[in-house]
Symmetry: C2
Subunit: 211 residues, 2 copies
């Protein structure tokens, strides 16, 4: 028996705006080997400094719609005039090669993914208080009360779905929340079925009879 | 809704002699709040320096046997002339009060516990190689080859059951193995059903409508 490869884990990480998800996920990926964020497809034009295949897979509407028709997306949505989606290949190629892959999507995308990939692991990130959330949603103080109120309502609509996720992380202290995210990833990798593959040679050696 | 208490987790940690389980568990308990090792019952006499209720609950044979008859033990075994067992109360009082409790028992005890408490979480600790295991089983070099060989066979009989455990930790580097144990405990505490109780007030505040 040689060292073999067990599939990685697909993580779906969701949060309301203002919870600090993007910074936490970036730090998680930087501090952990063999984990990456899946690159989404979008039909919106690239912004200054964005690179195709890195920030997004930029595609035109006809291509996106034909991919939808082919069932190429694990989840997709139209936001204003633009499509966004996670292709099955972008999400699962890494997983099948033994790496962990993160999807940063909202609760609706998370629900779509769960339907296709029930073994996906959901993590929901919460802000530490309503006051902190409200501060973060104010942005640079240049927006009207009405705009900020709409952001709060959107955040609450997202948070209303926290029970659909396997793990809940409260981002009060950044380093604590990061360490908690890392613990979830580490613990998944320690599950017996993953470790049996990873340590197949060791197990064979330890259990061999004879001197 | 006030902050409420969700039950803790019952951990069953097993390992062959020479895997370093006792040191790892001691370090885990020292570095983690709200987790303790359950105190077993035994009929063997206390040794120098052992305290009743701390190292063991020391009982006589008649008491032990009547506890067995009452179903007071989650698991018990006779080793040579002495009984050892984990009482249901010792294991579950802490858990019902929201703390995590560790049972350090062998695969047979683990199997008995799993039958009564299927939600118990099993962790098996492995040595990093056969060579290291053999060295550790040699002790101080005062034992016969036959005695050492018998220890190796006992270790292998224990390790043959690693697949019955949820998590597998290889104790190569002590600090890494400790950090992995801590990750399993942390990740369990981050599960949605635990966090919903722990952060009931926060969730209520975040989801409340109105300003």
């Amino acid at each position: 028996m040689s060292e073999q490869q067990q599939p990685g884990t697909l993580y779906v990480i969701s949060a309301p705006s203002g919870a600090g998800k993007t910074s936490l996920v970036r730090a998680l990926v930087e501090s952990t080997p063999d984990i990456a964020v899946s690159v989404s497809h979008t039909t919106r034009p690239p912004r200054e400094g964005e690179t195709d295949g890195v920030d997004y897979h930029f595609t035109d509407v006809a291509t996106f719609e034909s991919m939808v028709a082919e069932g190429a997306f694990l989840e997709h949505a139209k936001v204003f005039d633009n499509y966004y989606g996670t292709s099955r290949n972008a999400a699962l190629d890494g997983v099948s090669q033994g790496r962990d892959v993160i999807l940063e999507i909202d609760w609706q995308g998370a629900r779509q993914v769960r339907e296709s990939i029930p073994q996906a692991v959901g993590i929901f990130i919460l802000p530490p208080s309503r006051t902190v959330l409200a501060e973060r949603l104010q942005g640079r103080g240049q927006d009207s009360a009405e705009v900020i109120q709409r952001r709060m309502e959107a955040a609450q609509a997202e948070m209303a779905h926290f029970e659909e996720f396997d793990y809940l992380v409260v981002n009060d202290d950044f380093d604590t929340a990061l360490s908690e995210l890392c613990s979830v990833v580490t613990a998944r990798r320690l599950r017996g079925e993953a470790q049996r593959w990873r340590h197949a040679s060791l197990l064979e050696e330890l259990l061999a009879t004879g001197p």
